[in-house]
């Protein structure tokens, strides 16, 4: 099926503490082939790419390049062997020119040992023309370029390094439809030159337009490689999500009664490019999931509601009253809480104690004349450590020494102490082991049963399908669909999350 195998991936496995990121992944990439790698968030795509580009070494398994076994020591070694990676966040030096970036680390010199800009200009021009790019001058500064132009520069850079395999990680995530077409034209010309492309994307339409073969990963394992002419987007999506999941935990779907009043109502909320005209209602005691692909604007919706960022447009009605949501201080005072994505970066005070971390938001309530009532603080912290079964040697332990799941429970305890009316949970079980995960499900479930309105952001569809009463699927800053749990399954959600790409891109 493939004439010449450029890269053979054979039985690659990689584990991180607590997670098996890749489990015996094996497939082949042919010369001059566009090979798409697809999978849900957390399927192992990024880990695989990082192994191919020499960032990580695999635990087991081998890579064969040109039928010879090879072990990359570092990204530079991979580069020397013709493998270039173009990251989602481009890695160009903003204040240098296009040609300086392309020749970074190996600037051309003239006889005097000075940088030979003339020669570089010419060579750079050539590379760009080969890609069919004519709107970039070699002496333009990177910071003046658009994202798609930067991508072209990255590609030109890869070519000038004699790349034979270019890995592109979600290259179309932040460019327009028209720019995507230009990118595809460049990819086609690369193909003719015999360069192979490993194309990572969620977007079915694009994959079917550009890829020759499609490899599906799921939960770190290799599922299947299919020729794109022999398959359909539907089949691919079902391969991506066809995971079994544990239904041990069972929450009854909570139906909204007709006469109920929502605790939170959002009308036409917009913020920047990430939140576009979002409207929904949340009822007390309801778990509303906000799902979709990473980058669809889910976190931004919640952060805007919580006052971390200020809305550009729209109404937020909380408990029947319209609110401005200017700062978290304001929204917390009203009875909202947020368990943010990124425990360590946004949630925890790592060098402070478990006690401090639990009581921080509630402190104004346990103060007299600015002085913290210590016995009360200790009692509250101990109470919640016991209630949520946080495993720690004591409340005086620094929170950095707790496991991920227990750290997450510490943050949840912080909010429970404040008895919120609405709690936003952003990927609450991310990087948490299985045991702690089900405990966190229990906590979320019982909170909802006590009447707290919960907005759950999650990329894990089984989690959404276990906990949520209603499901909003976001795509490109908008709500693409609303489903009740009974009507939802992973395939439908993924279709909402991945389809309709064009609508958003055209503007």
């Amino acid at each position: 099926m493939i004439e010449y195998v450029l890269l053979k991936i054979d039985g690659i496995s990689k584990s991180f503490p607590g997670v098996k990121a890749l489990d015996h992944v094996a497939f082949e990439v042919g010369k001059g082939e566009v090979h798409a790698v697809v999978g849900e968030n957390g399927a192992g795509k990024s880990t695989l790419m990082n192994i191919l580009s020499g960032v990580y070494a695999p635990d087991t398994g081998i890579l064969c390049l040109d039928e010879k076994e090879i072990h990359f020591k570092d990204p530079r070694h991979a580069q020397e062997n013709g493998i270039a990676m173009i990251h989602q966040e481009l890695s160009l030096a903003n204040h240098l020119s296009v040609m300086e970036n392309i020749f970074l680390g190996r600037l051309k010199r003239n006889k005097l040992g000075l940088v030979d800009y003339k020669q570089m200009y010419k060579m750079c021009r050539n590379e760009l023309e080969c890609l069919g790019v004519n709107d970039i001058e070699p002496d333009m500064l990177i910071k003046d370029l658009s994202v798609s132009q930067m991508q072209m520069v990255e590609i030109a850079k890869a070519l000038s390094l004699n790349a034979r395999l270019i890995i592109m990680d979600e290259p179309t995530s932040s460019i327009t439809k028209k720019e995507t077409e230009m990118l595809f034209a460049a990819i086609r010309s690369l193909k003719q030159r015999g360069v192979s492309i490993l194309y990572i994307s969620h977007r079915m339409e694009e994959i079917f337009e550009i890829a020759d073969n499609i490899t599906v990963l799921r939960d770190g394992t290799y599922i299947k490689t299919l020729k794109s002419i022999d398959t359909t987007p539907k089949e691919i999506v079902s391969l991506m999500v066809g995971r079994e999941f544990n239904r041990a935990f069972n929450r009854e779907v909570r139906k909204v009664r007709e006469d109920e009043k929502p605790v939170l109502e959002v009308k036409g909320l917009s913020y920047g490019k990430k939140v576009k005209d979002v409207s929904f209602k949340l009822y007390p005691g309801e778990i509303l999931a906000l799902t979709g692909l990473v980058g669809a604007g889910r976190s931004e919706v919640v952060q805007t509601l919580f006052g971390v960022t200020r809305k550009d447009k729209g109404q937020i009605i909380f408990n029947g009253k319209e609110i401005e949501a200017r700062t978290p201080t304001e929204t917390i005072g009203l009875g909202m809480g947020l368990v943010p994505e990124g425990r360590k970066t946004q949630g925890l005070f790592l060098k402070m104690k478990v006690r401090d971390n639990i009581t921080i938001t509630n402190l104004p309530q346990i103060c007299s004349m600015q002085f913290i009532r210590k016995t009360e603080e200790i009692k509250k912290a101990e109470d919640y450590v016991a209630r949520l079964r946080i495993k720690t040697p004591g409340i005086e332990q620094q929170v950095q020494y707790l496991s991920g799941g227990n750290q997450q429970k510490t943050i949840i305890a912080r909010w429970l102490l404040n008895s919120p009316k609405v709690l936003f949970l952003d990927e609450p079980t991310h990087g948490v082991d299985v045991g702690a995960k089900s405990e966190i499900y229990e906590i979320i479930n019982s909170l909802a049963n006590e009447g707290v309105g919960i907005v759950l952001i999650s990329s894990e569809l089984p989690e959404v399908l276990t906990l949520a009463d209603r499901i909003l699927v976001m795509q490109n800053g908008r709500i693409a669909g609303e489903l009740s749990r009974e009507n939802a399954n992973q395939e439908i959600i993924m279709e909402y999350a991945t389809n309709q790409m064009n609508k958003g891109m055209e503007q």
């Binding site: 978290p328 201080t329 946004q346 005070f349 060098k351 921080i360 600015q370 002085f371 913290i372 332990q397």
Partner: protein, 332 residues
Amino acid sequence: MTSNGLPKPAKDAAAKDAGVRNALLKMVKQKEFSVFVALVLLCTVVSLLSPYFLGVQNIFNVLRQFSVIGILAVGQALIIITSGIDLSVGSVLGLMGVVAALLAGLGLPPAAVFVLTILLGAMVASINGLLVTKARINPFIVTLGMMSIARGASLLITGGMPISIENDITFLGSGYIGVVPVPVIIMFIVAIAGHVFSTKTLAGRNIYAVGNNERAAKLSGIRVDKVKVMVFMIMGALCALSGMIVSGTLKTAEPSAGAGYEMDVIAAVVIGGTSLAGGEGSIVGVILGAAIMGVLRNSFVLLGVSAYWQIVAIGVVTIGAVALDSLKNKRD
């Protein structure tokens, strides 16, 4: 992620590990304790070398010498814990000394001079805080600028000439209560107040939270900007207090008073175990840090070593203290 030494969860060894870890932790937590040990060692050595060191008179001398640095270091520590820094302390001290002299010259009673000077000090410093929080300028730059502005202002006001003070406000600098010099008493009051403030109050807890993780602090409902402005204002008030002490000692306000103090103050804070990265540190440690510097200075005088060596020694101790700390952290 390749080899950052994440501990692997080994269940049977975990309990034992936690025990060892706890013991280690306790030691690390007692940062002030190791500073205290260093101070005691230093005092022992110096007292063996010089019989005058432990004399009552000399001890009060030492205390008096580092009292102003100690007072300023309390404020600086609060700022550094929020992961800021204030380079303008010496200049603001000088300016406030001049301001106090002018107010005294108007014939105001000492109490009025005291209160007004403190308020003005806090006001001047609040400009630092507002520039850091609202204009989002790096505190290093803001206070570097303020350092120059405040110094220039005191020179402009005085025309470069010292102003003598005829007012009982000079009691703050030159007075005694019993045998104890007033600046020493003030330092202890400031230190105790600072300790209580930082460990027992809501605002104190918020200072640590902001320094630990500003983003998380904001998401926990803490008004981060308010906390930052507050610590700068406290610093300004303490600069004003110190300005009155320094000019009171000589009964003269020198426009150049306090020049170079910012470095001694930051050194005291750092020797006392406060991390410049923020989120950690204690007032007790900071006062001990100031004491180490004071004793060091005094010992050089007693031992008749060139004053220039003092300056070198303070530098060595500052770097040494931080080096020890980072070595200790690495092992942890």
